[in-house]
Subunit: 559 residues, 2 copies
């Protein structure tokens, strides 16, 4: 009597048949202009009309750096009477066209990770009802959903070159391409690629042609943003001081060998102090050996000084190509000599194989929650939440991880466990004298505005282990109550209202216990905190350090 | 004065030059017998002597299922006077040869994830000093280290077929191959592949030939283990009862749509109750829609009944090939019609895109820590810690995740956050009347024996949200103190000493609060808990449910 409740007989190959129909429509529309998998750039709209269906989930490669810009522009120009209701999936919204599709009614729903410069426009389109947000993710999380409940029906990606079989060479800027194409191709979706060139023989194959349906040579090379380049000339002496504290108070203290750095001047300063300050402390070979990191130009002096053993990257960085090619022991390069990046695998590595994440933020509250959300801007998360979270599934030990775990658990009835170091580095006041420490994050108000289910917290307080400001280091691992944690945070919050609201006696007590450490407590001499300590003081120094191999983008040159 | 401390000028291409030397030695050793990348099976030892160097990090593809067994056997036969001190990297130690390399002195160090049947021998070799363990990992964590601090110098993998360019077809059993090959090829390592066949044209390319150095057709097809097949005939009525409780008390309660199941009869029972019990509760379309799961045969009836919308897999399962090919809407298949699996990406998906992990364990302590470690056996972790840990970097919401997070945080001064459901399902007594609940895990003693830095805990108590036994469900999310948590666990621990040690009054109070739920509290009628409720009661039923498409391995047939 309890036999299975069988569904009526149904078709099990709807995706396959639908894919075949789309391919047939494309063949019919393009006729002889379809040369194998390749079509002329001028026919891209015809391809889109043929293969897209209203309501499709469409993943467009909007990466942190590389952009499938030609395809994004063509998509934004489609007639919304013919193609509409698309559900866009993408890592990053960078180009105006990424939002034009919503403005024009071609697309209506969005799942993404980061919106950077377009954050204000995302908020406006949302309140104008032109855009529904499914959710905001961290990168690896969004890729993960492509394989579970958000497989793209059509994906549009960018590669350096293709051959006539559709094999792709993505070279240094592989970034997000592999999981996007894999998720689409293995769910009977349609894979469309814009390439800078079509070649007879590729330097190497990064994506097999079997996974690719259509290739179009774009009129211009894809747009790419040098997102991780920081001019050392703009690093302040406060940042030098904070970098010294980070190196002596955290890197050396825990013996951090495997790590990820966030983006920004704070961590660039650390990179530039490795061959000077850290070397003078005898730390070469003891800290900063293995990195999950894009090829930051600021890392050149540390590489040249022999600090850095290896770097695995999410993406590449413009101008670093020749330098990388000349340093194959350090970077992940193929037999052809050029780098391979892979955001999905590097994010996994950042999560599981690194002992520390250190980055900057805009606001920190009294529980240590930090956020880069500001009102009227829906900026998203990018990669930080994945790397700035304790990797609770990690099981292999390292001295840094064990020590952090011990500090968090000492005197508590808890089973021993390691813990990731998650460091937030902020000056107490940011630009325009906005305090970095607040009673309540702007994220709460933004959540209300944008009807989010949770306030958009970048890194949660219970994952943060250290907060570092110019006033000192708060080691939250050593706090034993919410009250202690709050006072430890107030104790490094300087002259902000949060800092002024400290309980002086309790803060002094925390300092005596080493929960709060001032520069002088760890032997950091503030007088040494000058820009002279930087291994490169401007872009030209970086070029010089690279032996002339680093070729900065025009906007970073004044020569 | 603070100029960078430059290292003396050094070579930056040692890996590249060393790779070239290895390739030259191979060419010299094999001469005309090297046909492009392909060599005769009889010359495998010569290839190994040519490309291996003492102390190399060597990754051999020992997967959960597929084994590079021909290469493992050849490696184990090498003369330790010529090749020794290898540092083996591998997901799973399954074959005797995986340990023979240590016994014979060819290898001396090991980093791995899981040792299954070889767990006793790992322990023996360790105490005999023949093997040093670097660390024990979860799968994704081990892959992650391949890109950071453990890049393989040589990798040895298995594929279904290769073409004469070295392109690989891994088909349904792709498993761990992609990250292993990527980490090796892009660090100037050597990639060696055993294939079942060499073909002119592959069904599709899974790994580009550019990443592959040597291909050898093995005398026999690679060994593969049907690890996820469970005969429904062996499911007990207690397991049916527990499955009913899981479905009604957890799946329905939280509306769990995206999930992963562990291996074993407990979760097989749940799979087999979806089209019967769950359907009768009106749960079709409400639970169990998207899965990160291998193609478990026990899932066939739920697929046929329309419960399951999609399955993305770590690896395949023997005998499921034709069924998968006939259900392309459900599985991830390529344009050629066969499945693609990918353990790295599916583990990421299990971590980030699933709302629940549910699995079994051997021992649970009073804090909820669970372990499968037993004395004298170093078994490792596999994939469970990654999926059975809260994904603290996750940022997208779902009803299940939000509800779990709310339960954990209600009445506490904590910022709202979602939480993953992590369910441990055990009978209070396991085989031979060993209690599943213990005061102290055997893992502690094993850690001492094997000089591990931490006891090998599979899933930590602070990540577990529910413990389910035949006595009831303990919802640890609702506990507000260590004492409550302990009593909640004792309260479902039955007649084990831990269960008998409960504070009856406190347990009744926890039951009143819904922290502990008995079957009758959630309307589960124990009288219905019979094997009649299973949608398939034996292997033949599974074959029948599949319309004859499932073809079980011989050992699972009695017909």
């Amino acid at each position: 009597m309890n036999a299975p409740v069988n569904a009526p007989s149904r078709a099990w190959d709807t995706l396959q048949r639908n894919r075949a129909q789309r391919l047939e429509r494309a063949a019919a529309a393009l006729g002889a202009e379809l040369d194998g998998k390749s079509l002329p750039a001028a026919r891209i709209a015809d391809l889109f009309y043929a293969v897209l269906e209203c309501g499709d989930r469409v993943c467009i490669e909007g990466n942190n750096q590389k952009q499938a810009d030609f395809l994004a522009q063509a998509l934004a120009k489609l007639d919304p009477a013919r193609v509409n209701g698309l559900h866009m999936l993408q890592s990053v919204l960078t180009l105006p066209e990424h939002l034009d599709v919503f403005e024009r009614g071609v697309a209506s729903k969005l799942d993404f990770s980061f919106s950077g410069q377009q954050a204000g426009r995302v908020a406006k389109l949302l309140s104008a009802g032109k855009l529904n947000i499914g959710a905001i993710h961290t990168y690896l999380e969004l890729f993960s959903r492509y394989f579970i409940d958000l497989p793209p029906r059509v994906c549009m990606v960018a590669a350096e070159a293709a051959d006539r079989h559709g094999n792709l060479y993505t070279g240094p800027n592989t970034e997000d391409t592999p999981p996007i194409v894999e998720a689409t191709a293995f769910k009977n979706g349609i894979v469309i690629v814009q390439v800078n060139r079509i070649m007879d023989t590729l330097p190497r194959v990064d994506i097999p042609g079997d996974w690719v349906d259509f290739v179009v040579q774009s009129p211009r090379p894809y747009y790419i943003e040098p997102l991780f380049t920081r001019d050392p000339a703009l690093i302040s002496e406060i940042q030098v001081l904070m970098a010294m504290m980070a190196i002596k108070g955290i890197y050396a203290e825990y013996g951090v060998q495997r790590l990820n750095h966030g983006i920004g001047f704070d961590t660039a300063a650390i990179e530039l102090l490795l061959p000077t300050y850290a070397a003078s402390l005898g730390l070469k070979g003891k800290i900063g050996k293995h990195w999950a990191l894009n090829p930051h130009p600021a890392l050149i002096p540390a590489i040249e000084a022999g600090f850095v053993e290896s770097v695995h990257s999410f993406g590449s960085e413009l101008g670093m190509e020749d330098y990388i090619r000349a340093r194959p022991d350090v970077f992940a390069v193929g037999a052809d000599g050029s780098m391979r990046s892979n955001r999905a695998l590097c994010q996994a590595a950042g999560h599981y194989a690194c002992d520390m994440f250190i980055g900057s933020t805009l606001q920190i509250d009294l529980q240590g929650n930090s956020s880069t959300a500001t009102l009227g801007r829906i900026a998203g998360f990018g990669g930080a939440p994945n790397m700035g979270a304790d990797a609770r599934g990690r099981r292999h030990a390292s001295p840094a991880w064990i020590k952090a775990g011990q500090q968090a658990r000492a005197g508590r009835n808890m089973i021993p466990r390691g813990q990731k170091l998650v460091v937030q580095m902020v000056e107490t006041f940011r630009e325009h004298m906005h305090p970095a420490f607040v009673e309540k994050l702007d994220a709460w108000e933004l959540a209300k505005q944008a009807k989010m289910e949770l306030p958009p917290v970048m890194i949660y307080g219970d994952d943060v282990t250290h907060i570092l400001t110019e006033e000192g280091i708060a080691n939250l691992l050593l706090c034993r109550s919410d009250e202690e944690r709050e006072q430890a945070i107030r104790g490094v919050a300087g002259y902000t209202p949060v800092g002024l609201g400290r309980d002086r006696r309790m803060v002094e007590n925390l300092r005596d216990r080493g929960v709060i450490q001032r520069p002088e407590d760890i032997g950091v001499d503030k007088r040494l905190a000058t820009r002279d300590l930087l291994a490169a003081r401007n872009m030209k120094d970086l070029v010089r350090a690279s032996g002339g191999l680093y070729d900065p983008p025009q906007r970073f040159r004044n020569w």
